[in-house]
């Protein structure tokens, strides 16, 4: 039983790492990507090939996997972001990129094509995955609460005002993309070394969509929101024993429902903080009453 729960937690945490990347890219920078599965795949394959064929140390391989995924993101990022593609064009470009990359994986020798790579040593376990996840959460939070996070939010809120703040949109967007790809790559490496086996068909457009769904549901502009959403998505279907197909049907319906009823998601722009939870219990909230002249009354 513990083993079963462990399995769910490990996969949930690996998912959270990828979701955090997309949180920065979509939630905070406001760009919509449907091809992040390609970065997960890049990280997975790089790390797996390095440990399996070249005996590289696991943690080094993970880092290199993240790096390769990041570099890959520059390949699609630089031309498309420099061209200032608007959001739906950019989304389709990322989708196409994801599909194209999968096709390339299926036809390369070193990745053993569609058959995949079996026999990967399962270095990933609940302990190192937990530690890495905590580190990633901390790093992501630091990014968001630094000037880099603020520049991304400014770019998302009003691109022209952001430019008038001396913010270079291209640099900001590319930086967020790189960051999100590295995180996806690390998640991929962990995934490969937990499952012990990878093949291109594991890294689908569906997987990319799921990341976006977690971010939107959790709340764009929040870190704890998407983490919470990812946990819910990992655990609730298991608890309800939902068959795979109905799971996706539900996700689709949930996505529409959120957009129509509560577009800010579960937590919107907020985070789960101690102050916030205490606020839920406070009965008398201070009110700001401002009259038309702007004076406080």
């Amino acid at each position: 039983m513990w083993f079963y729960i462990q399995g769910i937690l490990v996969l949930a945490m690996i998912n959270i790492i990828a979701v955090l990347g997309v949180t920065v890219f979509t939630g905070f920078t406001g760009l919509f990507s449907l091809g992040h599965a390609a970065f997960i795949a890049a990280g997975a394959y790089t790390a797996a090939i390095l440990t399996h064929f070249y005996g590289v140390d696991f943690y080094l391989a993970l880092a290199l996997g993240g790096l390769v995924a990041g570099l890959l993101s520059l390949v699609i990022g630089i031309p498309t972001l420099r061209a200032k593609l608007r959001s739906d064009y950019f989304a389709i470009a990322t989708l196409g990129f994801g599909e194209a990359f999968k096709m390339i994986l299926e036809n390369m020798d070193i990745t053993q094509g569609a058959r995949g790579l079996p026999g990967i040593t399962t270095y990933a376990n609940i302990w190192n995955v937990t530690i890495i996840t905590v580190l990633v959460v901390a790093v992501t939070a630091n990014f968001v609460f630094s000037k880099y996070g603020r520049m991304a939010v400014a770019a998302r809120e009003d691109y022209m005002a952001a430019e008038m703040m001396g913010i270079n949109l291209f640099h900001v967007q590319l930086r967020s993309l790189f960051f999100s790809a590295v995180l996806a790559g690390i998640a991929g490496g962990l995934f490969a070394h937990y499952l012990g086996f990878i093949q291109p068909s594991l890294f689908t457009g569906s997987q990319s969509s799921m990341l976006v769904i977690a971010v939107v549901t959790g709340g764009m502009g929040s870190i704890s929101g998407p983490i919470l959403a990812a946990l819910l998505f990992a655990t609730i279907p298991e608890a309800l024993r939902l068959a795979n197909m109905w799971r996706m049907v539900t996700y689709g319906a949930v996505l529409v429902a959120i957009m129509v009823l509560r577009p800010q998601g579960i937590l919107g722009y907020k985070e789960i903080t101690f102050k916030g939870i205490a606020g839920l219990f406070r009965r008398n909230k201070p009110k700001n009453i401002v009259d038309s002249k702007g004076a406080l009354s």
């Binding site: 990014f143 000037k147 603020r150 022209m160 008038m164 038309s292």
Partner: protein, 259 residues
């Protein structure tokens, strides 16, 4: 005094429409220059050309002697020109404090990405300083008492002031104000004029001002340029402009009396 801003034969076409035609004028350092003219004369276009939103079709723009025509907006801002918008472009969903902090980031955060990710003591201290400084800027426009309120919860007049504070936080040499008194009553307009005068002295700025409120213009400006149909109609001191026949006819109306 040197010219902080010069345009030479500046031209901008939008397809068949001539927004700006062979326009040449200068702004002397340390002055407040007014840019007036009827709606559609091309005033905001000038601002957009100077700040890099539009690329000039012809002519040059020089800032402190260096060409900036056709440069990206973020380059222009870093060079030392900031602006406010006719339609107010605050970060509406963010707080007052956050709006200022984003502006302060430009010149007050010299840490790098790795420093940010690790967030050691130096970075934390910088971040705290940032917030303290932001409150100072809010104080200049009298908004320091509610730093965490949403920017769009402010009444219109205060939003304009916040936008000015934000533009100041970028430490410019030249400040472009696009109709800052729009929508204000006479009392508020004079308050705004006071504010502009105060910050100009405090921050040692040069100001270029688009405005329709003639009382504000005549009050504040050392020198005025009048535009119509994308061209320069006249240039001179407030007195000269008020009595210039072409200007009176085109814009102020023949009934305008000097008080």
């Amino acid at each position: 005094m040197a010219n902080i801003l010069e345009t030479k034969n500046l031209t901008k076409f939008f397809g068949g429409i001539v927004a700006c035609n062979d326009l040449s004028f200068n702004v002397e350092e340390g002055t407040i220059k007014g840019l007036i003219g009827p709606n559609g004369a091309g005033k905001t276009t000038i601002f957009n050309l100077v700040t890099g939103v539009y690329k000039p079709t012809g002519g040059e723009i020089l800032f402190q002697g260096q060409p900036i025509g056709g440069r990206q907006p973020d380059y222009v801002v870093k060079a030392g020109i900031t602006r406010t918008f006719q339609n107010i472009r605050l970060f509406k969903n963010l707080s007052l404090l956050e709006n200022i902090v984003i502006a302060l980031d430009l010149k007050n955060t010299d840490y790098h990405i790795f420093g940010a990710l690790v967030r050691g003591l130096a970075v934390r201290r910088k971040e705290k300083d940032l917030r303290r400084k932001a409150l100072e800027f809010l104080d200049i426009v009298g908004l320091a008492d509610r730093p965490h309120d949403r920017a769009d919860s402010l009444p219109y007049g205060l939003q304009r002031k916040l936008e000015i504070a934000r533009a100041l936080a970028l430490e410019p040499r030249l400040l472009l104000l696009d109709e800052p008194a729009a929508g204000m009553n006479p009392e508020e307009s004079l308050g705004l004029a006071d504010l502009v005068r105060k910050v100009k002295v405090q921050f040692d700025l040069t100001v270029l001002l688009i405005e329709h409120h003639m009382d504000v213009v005549m009050e504040l400006c050392d020198h005025i340029v009048v535009m119509n149909f994308g061209e320069k109609l006249a240039e001179g001191t407030p007195d000269e402009i008020q009595n210039h026949p072409a200007v009176l006819e085109a814009y102020l109306g023949e009934d305008y009396q000097r008080a």
